[in-house]
Amino acid sequence: MIRRRRLSDILEEYIDRLEEILEGYVYDVEERNLWHPSSEAIEPLANVHVEPREVVITVDIPCADSESTHVRFIDENTVEIEANLQHTLDFSYLRVMHRSGRFKKYHIRIDLPVSVDPSRATITCYRNILELRVPRK
């Protein structure tokens, strides 16, 4: 026998699922370490906005040499961005003395929620905020 579910149950389940996704996102944002001494890289803060015709990715790269920025599309849904720091940094620069490690560059790999056409990507840098615009497929 097929039992019909009440609308309120379906909605409740839907809200629970949304909350789970939100919690997962919050945990991911909060607990990810942005400093990677083993690869001498700092993971930059980044945003992805999906617009009707394009995807706009911004990356915050303070103290970077923006001329050294290198963008590589691994596939239609994944982009890797690197930029050298103007100077090699270590934790003592931030007055943290108990940790060791030095950093030469920013590096991030971003999974895009939709497919894009990398051949038509444009890159602009505004006071070390990198803006990457890529048309959607």
Partner: protein, 249 residues
Amino acid sequence: MPDGEVSIVEVKDVGEEPIVIAGLPDVGLVGLIAVFHLASKTDMEEVGFVESDLLPPIVVLYGGIPKPPFRILRSGNLVVFVSETAIPASAIPKISRAIVEWASKKRAKLLVTLGGIPVEERYKLEKPKVYATASSREVVENLKARGVEILDRGYLVGPYALMMRLAPLYGLTAIGLLAQSFFNYPDPDAAASVLEELGKLIGLDIDIVELREKGEEIRLAARDLMKRTEAELVKMRKSQEYDIPPLHV
């Protein structure tokens, strides 16, 4: 202190009828960066802290000495609330009310909240504009007469929203200064803009040259706190500040 309560502990004299300024972690860490700069330029000293089991179990080490992350600083008649840790979204109602109650008990002349209002493509703006909101129509008109732009319509979400709402109920005059800012990148330029406006408002010459010059270093150093704050902003549905309120017909 009972569970879930907020206590404001004074360790030194906070003076009479202060101007109370809040610089809490929020979008772009605008208020936090602004009050840290203000504190360093006016040689502020620690006069108290906020204590609550609603806050994470954290101390900040300075010269090996543990300090509470949510502190009260003072210079002259300026008293500043500053938090070096993201405030859990669940703690915001009680903490906001405690600050307003405390300011009311101290018969504060004015409560000023410093922060940002997120805008799209902020990176294309050379100098972020500052908008004000106030606890009463009279203060709004006064600000307008001084040439301050008013945040006419929109939503505010978070501790400042509550403080602005509660202030008149406690007999306080409150002004919110909000600079156009990034949502989740530290924004020292926006902090410089709100300090400029604060200076005009309270008649204080605040040197912001260094803040602008050291902007990139500040952006680099504030990334981790920005990331933690972002997680709380998501929980408090802060993105509603991008929403357009319905028109009243």
